[in-house]
């Protein structure tokens, strides 16, 4: 496969910087062998020299001192929130309950079931209590009746004349 000039030119810097994949190096190389324009451009690029200018200022003693001091302060500010005393935990009745959704649902269902059972038991106990109270009333009534003396009706005697007849 022959590469187009545009594709080769886009890879020339990578070729010179040895950043091109081996397969592409071969393709670009084949193209350059037969293309004087691309070969000329590569030669001109290869002659370019990039070298770092010396920054004299970096040799100054304590050049980084002010930056170290500023970063010191910045680090202290950065750490300050973490170093602050942790706030006292709230009382148990104000603590937030953090449960997974499934566990929370089970918990709620259990609570509802317990409330229902408690209600039913309470109703049953109330009925029993009412029955006991009713029976107690009957017993009390009967006791009261038993202890009440029966009214004594006055006995009237009818005096009769003695029988004088003959049997």
């Amino acid at each position: 496969m022959r590469m187009h000039c545009d594709a080769v030119v886009d890879r020339l810097a990578a070729l010179l910087d040895e950043e091109l994949a081996p397969g592409e190096v071969e393709l670009v190389g084949r193209h350059i062998e037969t293309c004087p324009d691309c070969a000329g451009l590569m030669d001109r690029m290869a002659a370019q020299r990039f070298s770092q200018p010396e920054l004299v200022v970096l040799e100054r003693p304590d050049f980084w001192g002010p930056m170290d001091a500023a970063l010191d302060r910045a680090w202290a500010d950065h750490e300050a929130p973490a170093l602050q005393a942790a706030p006292a935990p709230p009382p148990w009745y104000r603590r937030e309950l953090r449960l997974p959704a499934g566990v929370a649902l089970l918990y709620a269902a259990g609570m509802l079931l317990a409330l229902g059972l408690a209600g039913a038991l309470w109703q049953e106990a109330s009925d029993a209590h009412a029955q006991v109270a009713e029976l107690q009333g009957v017993v009390d009534d009967q006791s009261a009746l038993a202890s009440t003396p029966l009214p004594v009706e006055p006995v009237s005697f009818v005096s009769r004349a003695p029988y004088r007849g003959s049997l």
Partner: protein, 195 residues
């Protein structure tokens, strides 16, 4: 910080792999951050100085970059690319500054201002005229081309690192760099191609 820094020679910090520094951060994040600062600050300062042409601005930008690094939640994550992040933030701050200058109507110069060449200002000492010429030519290029040339040939980043810094594909790095170098040839020697 200064007391802890004495424990780490600058050359030692520069040679520590990022992964080891991240492991150290689990036990002593402050020392780990010091090592990151030691490892990268000089190159970041150069990068910022090339773009801004102002020592104090470059210094302030590098300081701001490290302050942002302290606040970056992901900075110690194992998969987090610290170097790429540092260069990306530095580049963004520098180009924002340059853009603001232009908006204020200030004229960008290809070499530092005369007053900047004073002892207390940035001084770039060139060993030969060609260095000055190349840097001056790079200053005339578009921000995209200027940035990629600086990242590759002055900050010595690999193509993969440049791709991370610029958040582009590796192929884009190759083509953009080739076009930037070709453009640089045209700027430095406009008649050569016709000849």
């Amino acid at each position: 910080m200064a007391a802890q820094l004495k424990l780490v020679a600058p050359e030692a910090a520069a040679s520590w792999p990022d992964e080891d520094i991240k492991v150290l951060a689990g036990e002593n994040p402050r020392l780990a951050m010091d090592m990151v600062i030691r490892k990268h600050r000089e190159r970041l300062f150069r990068h910022a100085a090339y773009i801004t042409k102002d020592q104090q601005e470059a210094y302030d930008i590098v300081q701001e970059v490290f302050i942002r690094a302290m606040r970056e939640q992901r900075f110690w994550d194992l998969e987090f690319r610290q170097k790429a992040w540092l260069y990306r933030v530095t580049s963004n701050l520098c180009f924002n500054l340059v853009r603001d200058r232009r908006r204020r109507g200030q004229i960008l110069e290809t070499v530092p201002h005369k007053e900047h060449a004073d002892a207390d200002q940035l001084r770039m000492v060139f060993e030969g005229e060609q260095r000055a010429e190349v840097l001056a030519a790079i200053d005339q290029m578009t921000p995209d081309h200027k940035e990629i040339l600086l990242l590759r040939y002055y900050d010595d980043l690999s193509y993969a690192e440049i791709a991370e810094v610029l958040d582009v594909a590796l192929g884009t790095v190759m083509s953009r760099l080739s076009r930037a170098r070709r453009r640089l040839l045209d700027v430095m020697d406009p008649g050569a191609e016709q000849a």
